[in-house]
């Protein structure tokens, strides 16, 4: 059945109290709630006040999950997540954890820089053999990794711009625009929208 987004709550910009209340209400109503861009205080209060619910914390992705019980989800669909380095990692992880929570098996390669183009080929070869159905490729600054990857594989690529870089075109703007202008085949999501990228990848992989 449906792979929509109803149970996800954006932590960023919400007061801790409000966030915890919504997370719990959702988890009770739907069996599970997913909190994204969760800050430290929100995480701690969730832990403290979760009551009977079970909580899962994804450190690198800043994602919290509340559940009524341990549910076994059968794995379905295969997704790959690629990024170039340290700065893009939290957003890449947000995409990865989201796709996993939606039931996919997710492969990742996090140290594939454009400089190290030779490092990408064996990764893509393996992904191809594993029949991975869609890739999320994250990149900040000049956003050059997704077009390069898309030019080297036939697996569909979702470009995920990350808000790094300073000066003109900084904060992900150059990355977004150059992905939109890419000569290789890409669709894109908004800057830092790791959740959207991961959820869309899961939807494609499972369709």
């Amino acid at each position: 059945d449906r792979i929509g987004l109803p149970e996800a709550i954006l932590g960023e910009g919400k007061k801790t109290e409000t966030f915890v209340k919504i997370m719990k209400k959702m988890a009770k109503r739907k069996g599970r709630s997913i909190g994204t861009r969760v800050n430290k205080e929100q995480k701690q209060q969730l832990q403290k006040n979760k009551g009977q619910l079970e909580m899962e914390w994804h450190e690198k992705a800043n994602i919290a999950v509340l559940k009524t019980e341990k549910t076994k989800q059968k794995e379905e669909g295969k997704v790959g997540v690629i990024c170039a380095g340290t700065a893009d990692l939290p957003i890449a992880e947000e995409a990865k954890v989201t796709a996993e929570l939606l039931g996919c098996k997710v492969y990742n390669a996090y140290d594939v820089g454009v400089a190290g183009i030779h490092r990408i080929l064996p990764v893509l070869k393996k992904y191809n053999e594993e029949n991975i159905q869609v890739l999320v490729v994250a990149a900040g600054r000049d956003g050059s990794l997704p077009p390069v990857v898309a030019g080297m594989t036939d697996i569909p690529v979702i470009g995920l711009p990350v808000s790094t870089g300073y000066g003109a075109g900084g904060n992900g703007e150059a990355a977004l625009l150059s992905m939109l202008q890419s000569c290789s085949l890409l669709t894109v999501v908004n800057i830092d929208a790791g959740f959207t990228a991961g959820a869309m990848a899961a939807k494609i992989a499972k369709t």
Copy 2:
């Protein structure tokens, strides 16, 4: 094998002479070349100078195809293309013809406005029954159709902003930004990038 973009030539911004030369060279080398955003003069010169090659003209999509011979491509993958009305039609058609040229069976619904939300439901129901694997939804001005469609189906949606609208946010800008901000699940392509949307849809449908 590969579903890349190598054989597509952007007509827009090229001198007619150059365009015709590249189209022919490509068709000879690869068996087929696809010209997009082809203007009248380019079309006529292509027709006149195509020599032994065969030419296909897609009026509403402004796409020209040169081929060495009639090839039978087995249909593979199912794609849906939806737009709201007259203004978005040429770009929607560009997506449709592109996906067809890449071997997909394409369904389309071109008069589904937001105003007529009741018109969308039966279309989506049918697409679901037909096991369509991906939708391209085109929209100009406020770009509100793709989010609405994405909220009503589990088929993955590619948002295709169209350069309509005047004043602030005109020329597809509001459409692009609101698709990037969408609360429903979407990936997007650039403004008027019907070719990219259609090619990506084909790639997803065939993967």
Copy 3:
């Protein structure tokens, strides 16, 4: 008589001391002063230093009112305020409280998301029966709620963009632009201008 704005003071960006001084001066001169976007410190100092004046505090709207005495204002004009959820609530409340302070009866519906379009219809039906004369519809991110509501009713709609959303088009920019581009009939106010929306709604309802 007049339904102007003379007695409203924007708290944001004013030093606490200055803010309190102006609020008191206004209240004494006009019988009442309204402070908007009032922060905690400003609120506390107002409370402490209000002297003989009476103070009203609207928590969710961050609005403070100073009055010379309890005045009974007869209710005149009916306004509806609609928003989709948690993030838009403070700005929607700013509009609501403003319209009430200007003498209107205000109805509100704060959990009407686009996803839950079925939730909007009964609300609009009731508002119609109640002869509500104008609606304020608040929305952040892609700003899609006001056009949808405007497409479902004949009550005039004022679109109120809210500064939510991150990445391209974030901070209310996509919301504002897509409301300006809306195919449904809307007028708009600036991003986060709950006060303007509420005051204008009151003016329309009372004219």
Copy 4:
């Protein structure tokens, strides 16, 4: 009953043939169709091919109307349209004709410049006596007229920015932004959106 926008067709950007076809189809289905931003060629072809339908042409507003028969609409609601001079006139007329087509009695004052502030007062005094319920005030360049008018009357004002002015802030951008920032009470529509302003004014006047 309903005062929606269904029967209006934007001429701008449509091929003449398509425009004429839609205008006729609409007029037949609904009894009347309204074409806005109609260019010369579109107007002439409409005249030539209108068949049994009746046509009305509004020169200064570039609006064409096709009707099945002469219908008598009882006048309901009073609207005022104000602008400063020559450059804003076509857009102001678009608003005026629209409101008239929707059944309102429209008053207009087209030579009220900011320079001539003394000229505005008697106009507003008369509008007040006539119980006009809403004003559309059009302005290009610095957009200063609508705030000034709004500061001088209690009739609600819709600001209509016009795409005049060159250099930074030209093409209506400064006008739109300064109306959004106005200290006087205004709602606004998009740049050159005379149709939206007129239709909204009619809706407010008739509610």
Copy 5:
């Protein structure tokens, strides 16, 4: 002799230590140094470490002056500074103090709002009688005061946009653009550039 800017030091963005050092070096070399946009810490350290130099502090303008001795400057040139209210005051004061430090007699009127247009006329009448040679008019949000003033007097007006306002066109952007688009005669300086406006006014008044 020359009325240049050599002795002015922008405090904003400089480390306190660096600021104090430059202020002292300048004061010793030129007899006087002027620090603008000076924060609290910078002011206190200047006071503490001024040694033999004399210090003048202009609270509302955030301007500090270091001098080798009490100098008598004969007054020359007359400048007027006008603004609408509380929010614009510090920038208006920066202009006023700067013009005074450059030897002008400065008149000011700080509560002349657009709403209170009747309040402007007697001020301008007096300025005219006093033979004031140039006006600085500060305004934030929609920047409508300078055009209005320029339309009511023959004294040349320098428009000074102030970084107030939120949402689209906020932070002085609408004010700057609408002054650049003004139909009345204006020259402008950058947003919050009270120092530039005041220094230019002094230069004009003294030429």
Copy 6:
């Protein structure tokens, strides 16, 4: 008496017929009308239809003047106009002719490039000796001339950005922004606003 702008008509964007009508009406009412940014057709029609009025044509400035009779205006105030070269000349001329029409004696130097800084000094020396009271300095592309000139003289400078340059910052944008950011003392007018610069210069020179 007054040196306002009432009798000036912007030709750009007006239909020839409308332009000619307004020019004549103004000339009759006020004794003289000034048309700026007048195109060829407008000029020719004005000539043909001027009737009893006298016409003056300023070729390089694209300014037309209609007058009831030859009037002798005594010269009052001295203005200097400086630009770097060919591209800025028409806008510089617009400023020059405007100041002359408002009664000033105008000096000009049109081949003073930044490259030729040695060429500026003797010009400024002469202007100083002639007691010129204000300079208009026009510049496109990087807008570097006005700051350089302002750094070399005590005569007040009005920076006039010109819409030259291509790529990022082209069309006068870089010129305007760098004049607003200038470390030398400048006030500015909008891009290509030669009329405003000239009129303001005349006003300053005559005050």
Copy 7:
């Protein structure tokens, strides 16, 4: 001696007559003048009116040269110019011809697309062996070629963005921004500034 730009004239935006006059004056004064972005009419008039001067025409680069006599310039400095395809060619040629006119030996490779990364390596290997001292790499749309090239060689790279691409980031904007954000080592020139890139390359190669 000096390798400045004094003798170059931008044709774009100049009236043919003016352009021809300046070209001739310059050629006579300096022995040679270089016209860039020269259109057809300008070229023809130059040919017709060149008198005793000699003319050189560079078709692909739109560059015209007027000379007093055949001069032999000894070749000095080696420059490489690289671009991906048809659309970037005229701008790449502008850079190449400029560097040649300034006395360099220029190597070029015009069909090195990112897709064909294997095509770049042998080119760079050869350039290295030839001791080329600087590369100009032109790219439109997403501007991804210069970073890729810079990542594969130690020869300094000047990025030259080209005004291709449509939609968001089109007209060279994405290309410029992503070059400014590049993780590889690049300096850049403005969009379409082939002349600047070529002249700077020559200067570096000859220093």
Copy 8:
């Protein structure tokens, strides 16, 4: 051999722990690692945890270096770094230290303002005599120094915009745009990209 950037780590935006870990790993693998935009906490933790590695700290440039041992690098290539004053100094120093770390002899002149043009000539004369091969010229606000310097020397100039200035065009935007529009010969790097400017200068000087 190669003069790439592999061993440089951007401190800004990295968690201290991550930063220290990468710095150490790099230093061990390559013999040296360079940390740029290093904040206080990062510097202190690096010092504390450097183990056997040696650390070098460049206070004004905010650059940290970790090394396995004292290496002697022979000096090769000469670079000049110029800026106008206090505000640009840290970025100019970032460029200077980077070029030194890459093995160049670097000359600098940090108090050469545009106002003090006479101060630049002797500096450039000396640089010429010393056979400096490339200049980095840093400037904020209106960015006018690099064009002026480039107009006075034949040494190639890299323009380095600095994020100073407030209001329109502030934060380095006017500086970047006016360098891109410069009439003198310049290539540029991004705003505040001292590292890129310095590394590119070193590469050019050593090629």
